[in-house]
Amino acid sequence: MRELKFLLQKEFKQIFRNKGLLPLIFVVPFVQLLILPLAADYEVKNINISIVDQDHSSYSQHLISKITSSGYFKLAGYAPTFNEGFKQIENGQADLILEIPTGFERNLIRENQQKLFIAINAINGVKAGLGGNYLSQIISDYNSDIRVQWIRPGRFKEAPTIQLVSSNWFNPFMNYNYFMVPGILVVLVTMVGSYMCALNIVKEKEAGTIEQINVTPIKKYQFVLGKLIPFWIIGMMVFTIGLFIVARLVYGIVPVGSVLLLYGYLAIYLIALLGLGLLISTFAETQQQAMSVAYFFIMIFMLMSGLFTPLDGMPQWAYVIAKINPVTYFIDVVRMIILKGSDFSDLVYHFTIMTGFALVLNGLAIWNYRKTS
């Protein structure tokens, strides 16, 4: 164990003396944590609407003002014809066209029914779907208003109405940051952990100092532990700063659930990750190779973890990939504990899986380490 003490001393000195690495560990993550949530907001709002009003009646005016005051839509402009409106869609100024045909007001009263034409740029399907929904809802509300104006109550049998009451739990104000910040924090810890750890070992390979270590009586496990422990501690530190300083002070996120539980999971997660870093370092001969491999993994980890896009929309095979991605689980757990206050009994499955990851990744790393030396 005395040897381990010396190894750890050495690692910490080296890490804290590396002026290029320190900002990568302690500054870049937090800058990202500050900028990413600002940018990564895909709540559907500000839908640009172009209106083709061929009726120019008080009804159409009323409908338009109802739409523009709804908060969802931004008036991109009026177009004289549908084709003009379509051009606005083509050049990206509008997402949606509403055409109010001539005689809308007159025909509505006279014929009891009138059509409105809506065309939506559906390249972004989700935005289009929601936009269509919002607009239909506004129109339907407007419809009821008119009906009330014209028809005295009780004169006809009112249509059955289902009132929808929706409530949003755990994040009632639908604050997007609450969702993103914990997830991004996970990605940052992941990068620092796996990436820095892999690079660090490969650096010793490249510099040739690993040969010097290999002729000393140091045991493999001591060397490996000497590399893992510092990055485990650094991972913990980065997470702590991110959670208690950035998330709490900047975004006002206070974990609902047990912080202890969160750290328990983090501890296991870091072991799994460092195992991955170690595994990469056993394959790579140069820092460059380690970087490309780590980069490839991190890119997939990030995009297929449910951080930005929901896992539920993925095809089966992609879902399987997401399920063998350790980041997926930690993001899930972080959100569950911080936002929902889930407790250990809710997380048994996650704990089991992550322990499995830790065992498999470290096992593979050690097995391959032996093979290569």
Binding site: V28, I35, Y42, E43, V44, N46, E90, N91, G92, I109, N112, K115, L116, F117, A119, I120, N121, A122, I123, N124, V126, A128, L130, L135, S140, N143, I151, E158, A159, P160, T161, I162, S166, S167, N168, W169, N171, M174, Y176, Y178, F179, Q287, Q288, Q289, S292, F296, M299, L303, M304, T309, P310, G313, M314, P315, I321, R335, M336, K340, S342, D346
Partner: protein, 368 residues
């Protein structure tokens, strides 16, 4: 000219003899376009929901049947016990709970009004919004069916047309973005190490002492990657069309010309990085870490740029991928011509020219 050709030939040797990089050059885009083209989507399918039915009558049964039939939902269970809801949310597998109160059908028939409660797990606000929207739609459509029986007066019927992507597929939006992302990263990454590698290996010293024009050195470096990127582009477009069912509504030649313009911009950026750094490692670090996040964020395919704070919106303008993304969407999906994308094209051209000039200027004719 002979000098230049011999240079280009040498660069091709470098590229083709480095099997690992070659694998990365071709493998990465294919894997990424497949992976992300299929997997990245904001759609939600098979979301697990719980229905809490206290009424258990004909109406609720019909609505539940409709919910079950939707591909968006997977009705996990129908319970008549409010108690477990919170636990279901906390254990993480349930995204939405729909509660029908007692006497739902009776209220609906006799009072003409009944209530449904929808509770969403808003820890993911986006999913919550989308799923609430889906559920609302389904319930509304049931309501419409009821109404069509009793003809109400003064009815406005909105007729909705979904342009370009009637099935609302996620790929339509994501594939052009992934194209921009992949081309950008591969081009920048490959070229960014190319010049600095010669600096590190010492061959640059010999080249500098030779009478060769530095501009030739730089351009020769980019040519093999330009060619390889065009091959990549063909593969990407073929895959998008055949596997991801992407349309090519516009002029394919125009699409290629624009893509080559974008590739040149990306290559120029890579060369600039390579000229500015001292080691392959920092070149890679900059091109991977420095390019990935901004390109992903500011291209606009994942996160709408109009939602961002003004400062970030301004930053997004200097990201070439943003402009390319608009161009690809316009040509591939909207089927537009150059007349509609000349502005974006001009911006990309200026970007490419400026970056190239800077990297020529940055090329050091001496060491240090």
């Amino acid at each position: 000219m002979k000098q230049f050709l011999s240079f280009v030939k040498k660069e091709f040797f470098h590229v083709f003899r480095d099997k690992k990089s070659l694998l990365m050059l071709f493998g990465m885009p294919i894997v990424q376009i497949l992976l992300f083209g299929f997997a990245l989507t904001n759609e939600i399918k098979n979301a697990k929901i719980v229905i809490c039915d206290y009424s258990n009558d004909a109406a609720t049964q019909q609505i539940i049947n409709k919910l079950e039939a939707s591909k968006s939902f997977e009705v996990q269970r129908v319970v008549s016990d409010h108690f477990q809801i919170e636990n279901s949310f906390k254990s993480g597998d349930i995204k939405l709970v729909i509660i029908f109160p007692e006497n739902f059908n009776r209220d609906l028939l006799h009072l003409n009004s009944a209530q449904v409660q929808i509770i969403a797990d808003a820890s993911d606000p986006n999913a919550a919004n989308t799923l609430t929207g889906y559920a609302t739609n389904i319930i509304r459509s049931y309501q419409q069916e009821l109404r069509s029986n009793s003809s109400a007066p003064i009815q406005i019927v909105p007729e909705v047309r979904m342009l370009y992507n009637p099935q609302l597929k996620g790929a339509t939006n994501f594939v052009p973005g992934v194209m921009a992302l992949v081309l950008m990263l591969v081009c920048v990454l490959m070229t960014s190490v190319s010049i600095v590698r010669e600096k590190e290996r010492g061959t640059m010293e010999v080249l500098l002492v030779s009478p060769i024009n530095p501009v030739l050195v730089i351009i020769a470096k980019a040519i093999p990657y330009l060619l390889l990127s065009v091959i990549n582009l063909v593969v990407i477009i073929l895959m998008s069309v055949t596997l991801l069912d992407m349309p090519v509504n516009g002029n394919i030649v125009l699409l290629f010309v624009e893509s080559i313009l974008f590739i040149i911009t990306a290559l120029a950026l890579g060369l600039l990085i390579s000229n500015s750094v001292e080691s392959q490692q920092s070149a890679m670090l900059i091109s991977m870490m420095g390019m990935l996040v901004p390109t992903m964020l500011f291209t606009g395919f994942m996160f709408p740029i109009e939602n961002m704070p003004v400062a970030l919106q301004l930053i997004s303008n200097i990201i070439p991928a943003k402009w390319y993304y608009i161009i690809v969407k316009s040509i591939m999906i909207k089927g537009l011509g150059l007349a509609s994308v000349w502005k974006e094209t001009l911006i990309l051209t200026i970007m490419a020219a400026v970056i190239l000039v800077i990297s020529f200027k940055k090329f050091k004719i001496r060491l240090e």
